[in-house]
Symmetry: C2
Subunit: 175 residues, 2 copies
DNA sequence: GTCTATAGGGTGATAGAC
DNA sequence: GTCTATCACCCTATAGAC
């Protein structure tokens, strides 16, 4: 609260005047940060597009949003791991099973056409999110290991934007 | 310190008797958790094996170690993001440039033979680590979203152990 | 609305009895 | 070695002046 007050150039007491408690302030920030991230993702995945187009769109959407808020993933995952129950209640609205079911149908159709190898929808989505989100989670470590400044990190991410979708599509394509 | 003392069924004072300060205790735990993880990884990557074999070995090593300490990634990344300088000093020993350089040579050789598409060594390593580490980082969220218990999560990881290496190799192979 | 002052509770660390 | 008691500090939250 002190840090936030300092950054806002106001007094700690004023934060409590506006937000009542640290907990309520946190929830407001969390909702904003986390926000409709999942919804917009689910929307693309459930949409009516060819599989490869869909993968490209999800990757582009992911990297675009994450580039705007590079610290969001570690903030969110951290909070979820510290307090799983609270978060889960927020996710009840998202029809995960339905979205996964639809996506699996689309995958199965492509498999039958001989275009891709069989894969579970959940595994493919985890793969996509892994490749998009992990670099942001590991940003401080990557920057340290590869001696990158913020500019170079952003450049690497932009390179990935182009490469990751191709990597995923190749990963599931039949040879 | 209170939580640790409780778990250890001893008094807080005793922790200070043995570890002097919270900071020193933390460092000991961190070194143990983090430990030779990077070293053993670098060893495999710098080793003298065919590229595809190497990828399979790294994935197997990763998932094996992470399965033993599923909370390690979020703990480590969290600490690195809170305090990058401290961690970086620990990683000075690892000859990142050399390992990356060797790996890039091996990749380039396979590209010239027409076996794989061109890719930067760093990007490939990030891809591998993404696919291996992210599911553990997102474990609480995945468990919530996909309504998995710990057993089902472990089963999913075991499935990935077999699939991720193939996914990566297909991702870089020429068609 | 915005501030200062302070209550109330928790935390890291130490002193000192046993 | 292991404990209790306690100090000094910091943090959330509130009371009350302006």
């Amino acid at each position: 609260m002190q840090d936030i007050a300092d950054h806002a150039s106001v007094n700690k007491a004023l934060l409590h005047y506006y937000f009542t408690s640290k907990d309520k302030l946190f929830n407001i920030v969390f909702e904003q940060e986390f926000g409709n991230f999942f919804s917009s993702l689910a929307q693309v995945i459930a949409s009516d597009q060819p599989l490869f187009e869909k993968i490209k769109k999800v990757v582009a959407l992911d990297i675009e949003k994450l580039s705007q808020f590079p610290d969001m993933p570690i903030f969110v995952l951290n909070e979820v791991s510290r307090n799983p129950e609270v978060i889960l209640s927020r996710l009840q609205n998202i029809p995960v099973e339905m979205v996964l079911g639809l996506f699996q149908q689309q995958i199965n159709a492509e498999v039958e056409r001989g275009n891709i190898r069989p894969i579970a929808a959940g595994q493919l989505l985890v793969n996509i999110q892994s490749l998009c989100v992990f670099p942001f989670l590991a940003r401080p470590m990557l920057r340290g290991l590869m001696k990158m400044n913020e500019e170079e990190f952003k450049a690497m991410i932009q390179l990935r934007k182009n490469e990751v979708a191709e990597f995923i599509i190749n990963g599931i394509k039949t040879n």
